[in-house]
């Protein structure tokens, strides 16, 4: 199966993506096309309040699908400055548009060096399962 992996994003081993907004220390975070396909129909997201401090590698929220629940891990450390409130009414956006309207949180990063530890699209594609 072919999964979308846009070139302009950074990726984690936990199948999350991260986009650095131009000329800021803000990043947008979501789950990848592969991840939304694996988890299935998203029905609910449990996310922390704005202002919450996130630590790279630590769980910060939950994503519930019709069949399972998965944890969301912070790809970088920083302060949560917004979550996608549209998902409260339309969680299916995570499936329909994982890199667009289905974005999950926006974070002001506290240590830009952490971005260097993430994968680019080519590296992420290389570690996706073959089938």
């Amino acid at each position: 199966m072919d999964y979308e992996t846009p070139e302009d994003l950074l990726y984690t081993e936990d199948h999350e993506w991260l986009r650095r907004e131009a000329d800021t220390d803000e990043v947008t975070i979501g789950i990848t096309d592969f991840a939304q396909e694996q988890v299935g129909d998203v029905v609910y997201l449990e996310l922390p309040a704005d202002g919450t401090a996130l630590t790279a590698g630590e769980p910060f929220g939950e994503i519930e699908s019709a069949k399972t629940v998965a944890e969301l891990f912070a790809p970088v450390s920083g302060e949560l400055i917004a979550s996608n409130t549209e998902l409260e009414e339309r969680p299916e956006l995570v499936n329909e548009s994982p890199y667009g309207d289905g974005w999950i949180v926006r974070v002001r990063i506290s240590n830009a060096a952490e971005l260097d530890g993430l994968m680019d699209a080519e590296a992420y594609r290389a570690q996706l399962p073959e089938d």
């Binding site: 029905v43 629940v69 944890e71």
Partner: protein, 372 residues
Amino acid sequence: MSATGPNGRSRAVLTPLTLRERHLAAGARFAPFAGWEMPLQYEGIVAEHRGVRERVGVFDVSHLARAWVEGSEAAEMLRSVTTFDVTTLPEGKAHYSLYCNETGGIEDDVFIYHLPGDRWLVIHNAANADADFERLRAVAGDAASEVTPETVMLAVQGPAAVGLLCSVLGEGFADLAPRDCAELSWQDAPLLVARTGYTGEDGGECIVPAERAESLWDALFAGGATPAGLGARDSLRLEAALPLHGNEIDAATNPYEAGLGFAVSLDDGAPFIGREALVGAKAQPRTRRLAHLAARGRGVLRAGFDVREPGGEQPVATLTSGGHSPSLRIGIGMAYLPTDLAKVGTMLEVNVRGRALPVEVVRRPFYRKPKG
């Protein structure tokens, strides 16, 4: 993100479905279930669920264990092992019944079809297939025979299901009322059909010889049925508040606390396994009752979560089933609550991994199909 999916043992030897290739072509993702390799989903659980609620879906339920009991003694034999008085069941009717143990606990729930010519077909849950067949053998001997491997069973469910079955099977199906069963034919082979199901929708369940199954599947598919997997089957039965053996009912629950008293006949006085215990259970006041819980906040209920009184520390119950209702767009679940907490309108909490989610006791079913 890391998913904690169903913990299937991929190396276990699973029985493949006769229609495996058809399921693959329809995009099935398989999961192990009671020793079978079953379609968990195709397009997606929510889309399949809506397909059934809004139009028509087809489920391959060939894993359900099917056995005949035949002959002039068959009704009495069945009466001695099941709770419902099948001797009153007219020819051409199907009825829900239970296998209980000596203490009145539910060993399995079954559907019994009474077909012409003293032929009775019993539909069992896959997980209990061996024990159930032994139970029939013990009373019926060679009059009981298993037909699971030679046949395929398809459930066609949804508001457009009856129309589809009429167009595929012809007038024979059009004559059937709810819970009627009949032997029709499909491409010169016998086809058993009952106007029954497990989704809260109208429809039918068809059993055909394995060699005629592909053409029946193709005809249903061509007629607009959406393939639906075990995921949607579970969310549909949960919305309809139908119990699942192993979750709501098991060897330690009795039919009365499960709300299944309608499947127990005591008035005829006929002996059956568990009768004495059930007479006692019926006479006693209920200490707990299966209750239906609807989330009054955002979140998904799951089997195994604790139920507490608001602000309470101690669990008062554990969810037997839970999930997201695609029709109502809320979390729903079931649990055995102490009788005083099981009243409709009671507010409780469910412990969702450390977070208290408010829930309300509601009437069953959670979802009722709109009056047509």
